[in-house]
């Protein structure tokens, strides 16, 4: 399964990179970086979904729907207002993780999702207002930020982002058994030497680093983090040593495909990539909710 997905990912990567017979400048400086970022973004979001769902014991949790991504985007935008994007990102990420941990102990899972809806609505509105204050002509950019559009970035940025994403992926893989046990239960995990609180903080922290990176680069992309892990669990298994890599690959392939469609459908103009991933995955989201209705 993993091998098939890796082959598919490589094949699609090459197809999307060399589609339409481009010259070497386009390939090296535009398409390879952009496809890589799209792939990593999709994969990173799927990883976050896996971890959020397990750690919060909430099958519908993910950074987007819980408002974490929206809040981080707000932090980023406020930072941008004062030309300190990184600080805005860092502060809002830490605040978001801590509040998720705090609230999850005090609210039932369904209520948490509703809090997320509220945080999201507030954050997106505030981001639109702040962007128009920043520059009235940048409203279009702000709208695409709230849907998700893959940027062209330098090869160095791609290198760093890949490194961080892969590092987070491997660290999560090392904790896959702990995540398995945590999904059985807190007390049950303790007797295997897992410290539930530390496990929550570390794995949520790791994935939130990814969320922060991709929110600042791409914007808010919904449903990948929520739906992809469930597709993998449905087709394969729920054991983390396979859910993590399979979700990473599947999420990456889906978002890279969405970005390809985004670039080509109304070429030379462009649609935000998040539009296509939402278009594909929101019906599946409804399917997931239906399937989990008894839980």
């Amino acid at each position: 399964m993993i091998i098939i997905l890796i082959l598919l990912a490589v094949l699609l990567f090459l197809l999307f990179t060399f589609y339409g017979n481009p010259n070497s400048y386009i390939v090296e400086n535009l398409r390879i970086p952009r496809n890589t970022i799209a792939f990593l973004c999709g994969g990173g979001l799927a990883l976050s979904g896996v971890v959020y769902q397990t750690v919060l014991k909430n099958p519908l949790a993910e950074p987007y729907i819980l408002g974490v991504a929206g809040f981080i985007l707000l932090g980023y935008t406020i930072g941008k207002l004062f030309k300190v994007e990184e600080i805005g990102l860092a502060i809002s990420s830490v605040v978001a993780v801590l509040s998720v941990l705090y609230i999850s102990k005090r609210l039932p899972p369904k209520h948490m999702l509703l809090v997320g809806v509220g945080v999201n609505a507030f954050s997106v509105s505030a981001v639109l207002v702040l962007y128009s204050l920043l520059d009235p002509y940048s409203l279009k950019e702000s709208v695409t930020k709230t849907i998700g559009v893959v940027p062209y970035v330098s090869i160095w940025a791609v290198f760093i982002v890949s490194l961080i994403t892969l590092l987070v992926f491997f660290l999560l893989m090392l904790r896959s058994r702990n995540l398995d046990l945590l999904s059985v239960g807190e007390l049950e995990a303790v007797s295997f030497g897992v410290n539930p609180l530390r496990e929550r903080v570390v794995s949520l922290g790791l994935t939130t680093i990814l969320t922060a990176i991709f929110v600042s680069l791409v914007g808010l992309v919904g449903f990948i983090g929520l739906v992809v892990p469930h597709i993998v669990r449905f087709i394969h298994s729920s054991v983390h040593s396979s859910v993590l890599p399979l979700s990473f690959l599947t999420g990456g392939i889906i978002f890279m495909g969405s970005d390809f469609l985004a670039r080509t459908v109304i070429y030379p103009a462009e649609i935000p990539a998040g539009v296509f991933s939402s278009l594909m995955l929101s019906p599946l989201f409804i399917g997931v909710v239906w399937r989990l209705r008894h839980d």
């Binding site: 398995d180 239960g185 007390l187």
Partner: protein, 225 residues
Amino acid sequence: MIEVYNLCVKKGNKEILKGVSMEVDKSEAVVLIGENGSGKTTLIRAISGLEDYKGEIYIDGFEPEKGGSEKISVLSQDFNPVGYLKVSEIMGFCDFIDEEIIKELGLNALFNSRVGNLSGGERRRVGIGFALMNDRPYIILDEPTANLDISYINRLINLLRRKVEEGKGLLIATHDILFAREVGDRFVFLRDGKVLYTTNEEGFNYACTKVFGTNMYTEVMKRCV
């Protein structure tokens, strides 16, 4: 040996456990008996290292958070894994698979089901199976008989007695006194966060009468006959 001395646990302003002392040795089953809210679950969570406490807890000489909790296998009161896990996957996380336990608990038929689709009793059986198939010197079960029907309770009693014979130390919290009487070697009666009686079979009826007001054990027996 699990040793608990003068254990106090506070949640907010409320004192849940007020100086509890007790012990569980290998090759014996100790049953914690008490009404709802008497502190049974808190005691178990403290022994597992999930509560801040005052007093002393040692499991074979180790404090819970310093490796002691890794010597116990626990079934929590609300055993409730994420709904999408399959029973076979949960069993896969155990240290070993014991065909007899699987058979006695009727888990074969559930192997391909997702936990979210199980009934309360079925989920309980999965939890019991998970707790019994881990290789630890001590097994702690919090309300194992909740939602179980009588035939499974009988099989559970046999399974647990077998574990005691194998040399395991069992700590079982329950308010089902019939089950308690059959499975236990020693009984610890809790009320309002204090140990009222620690007794063996001989003092069981007396303690029951004192703790529950009436001799509940004979009451229940009368009802059964």
